[in-house]
């Protein structure tokens, strides 16, 4: 099916080599009244190629902040971020945007599909942003939708799709540019349990099928148990979680 830029499709095989994501000593605090609220106090984390890691932590512990920093959407107060070996913490906005465009895919709790565009058009947009021609982008988009069994819904607007279908389209959009890193922040948080499992099946199948690395925040321990390993946040630091 889809091939990642740097690896052939592989099933849960962790590839040795340059880590896809490295966070070293990440700190982040927010101003709160007269003081500061420390969210991350030296978070260290390494994600290897082909690895799927579950981030299981209660609300308010900094999951979203960690994912946003890892995804180069937010700058840490201190620390280093390396994406596929490239140091990113001090890059300017244009360089970070370029890395997001080519190497990072995001899935949020809410699908955030563009409402005026159909399912296939939502997958064409990121590819055209990356410089691909419209017809090639559409061909790849249809292939992705077919893989997720959504090709019969390609011409439907998001409002005409079910919650699970919208989230699957959002997942397909996140991998449309064949990124090396997928960051998902509670991708099934808005869905019922049955749909959650169905969407997670699709997500994990797509991730395993393309060989990319994924860091997925979730409250669902059953789903987290299906990932290669699990981590949590304790006092602003990343620690393993069994």
């Amino acid at each position: 099916m889809m091939t990642a830029k740097s690896a052939q499709p592989t099933a849960s095989a962790i590839v040795e080599g340059v880590p896809t994501l490295e966070l070293v000593g990440i700190t982040r605090a927010f101003a709160e009244g007269q003081g500061r609220l420390e969210i991350l106090t030296g978070a260290d984390f390494t994600l290897h190629p082909g690895e799927i890691v579950g981030l299981v932590a209660p609300s308010g512990t900094g999951k979203s902040t960690l994912l946003q920093i890892a995804g180069l959407l937010e700058k840490p107060d201190s620390g280093d971020i390396r994406v596929c070996g490239r140091a990113c913490a001090t890059l300017d906005d244009a360089a970070r945007t370029a890395i997001r465009r080519s190497d990072i895919g995001f899935v949020y709790q809410f699908h955030h599909l563009l409402p005026e565009f159909t399912a296939v058009e939502n997958l064409v947009v990121p590819q055209m942003i990356a410089g691909l021609g419209r017809s090639d982008a559409r061909e790849r988009a249809m292939a992705l939708l077919a893989y997720l069994k959504l090709d019969n819904r390609a011409s439907h607007l998001p409002a005409e799709l079910s919650g699970g279908e919208r989230q699957r389209v959002a997942i397909a959009r996140a991998v449309a540019n064949a990124p090396r890193l997928l960051l998902a922040d509670e991708p099934t948080g808005n869905l019922d349990p049955k749909t959650s499992h169905y969407v997670y099946d699709a997500l994990l199948a797509l991730v395993r099928g393309t060989g990319l690395s994924a860091l997925i925040a979730t409250h669902n321990m059953e789903i987290a148990a299906r990932m290669d390993r699990r981590i949590t946040l304790a006092d602003g630091k990343v620690v393993p979680r069994d």
Binding site: L73, A94, T97, R100, F106, Q109, H112, L114, P115, R173
Partner: protein, 143 residues
């Protein structure tokens, strides 16, 4: 006349500013998602500049065409309105006019057109700048 028209177009341009500013606010989530996909600030700026410029171009063109139609047919329009209202509009006895004069001055027309286009383009700059500066993290924070 040019100053009067400039003031009128300025009011219309302010409408472009307010409309685009509301559009940027309304589309905040979509802008944030485009940024997470890798759209640059420059591309977001261009999207809204083109949107506002399109409004300005279409509005200027429509105004120009409508103005030309009215100027070229002003006497017919006067007679129609007189018939409709059953009154004499601009009566020749009172105004010493055999017909309503309307002179199209090319130079002034072109100047007004350019001014309208220029003001409408300028009106798009601030909202487009706001859109490009939008922080995707803040926009997506309260989903």
């Amino acid at each position: 006349m040019f100053m009067i028209l400039t003031m009128i177009v300025l009011v219309a341009a302010l409408n472009i500013i307010s409309g685009l500013t509301m559009l940027v606010k309304d589309k905040g989530h979509d802008i944030a998602i485009l940024r997470t996909m890798g759209a640059t600030r420059g591309s977001i700026l261009r999207i809204f500049l083109i949107t506002g410029a399109s409004i300005g171009v279409v509005g200027t063109l429509a105004g120009f065409l409508l103005g030309m139609v009215v100027c070229l047919n002003i006497e017919s329009i006067r007679q129609f309105v007189s018939w409709l209202t059953r009154t004499e509009i601009f009566s020749p006895e009172l105004y010493y006019l055999s017909q309503l004069p309307a002179e199209i001055q090319v130079g002034e027309t072109v100047t007004v057109l350019l001014m309208a286009l220029g003001l409408s383009f300028l009106a798009t700059v601030y909202p487009a700048w706001r859109a490009a500066r939008l922080d995707p993290v803040e926009a997506l924070r309260y989903e």
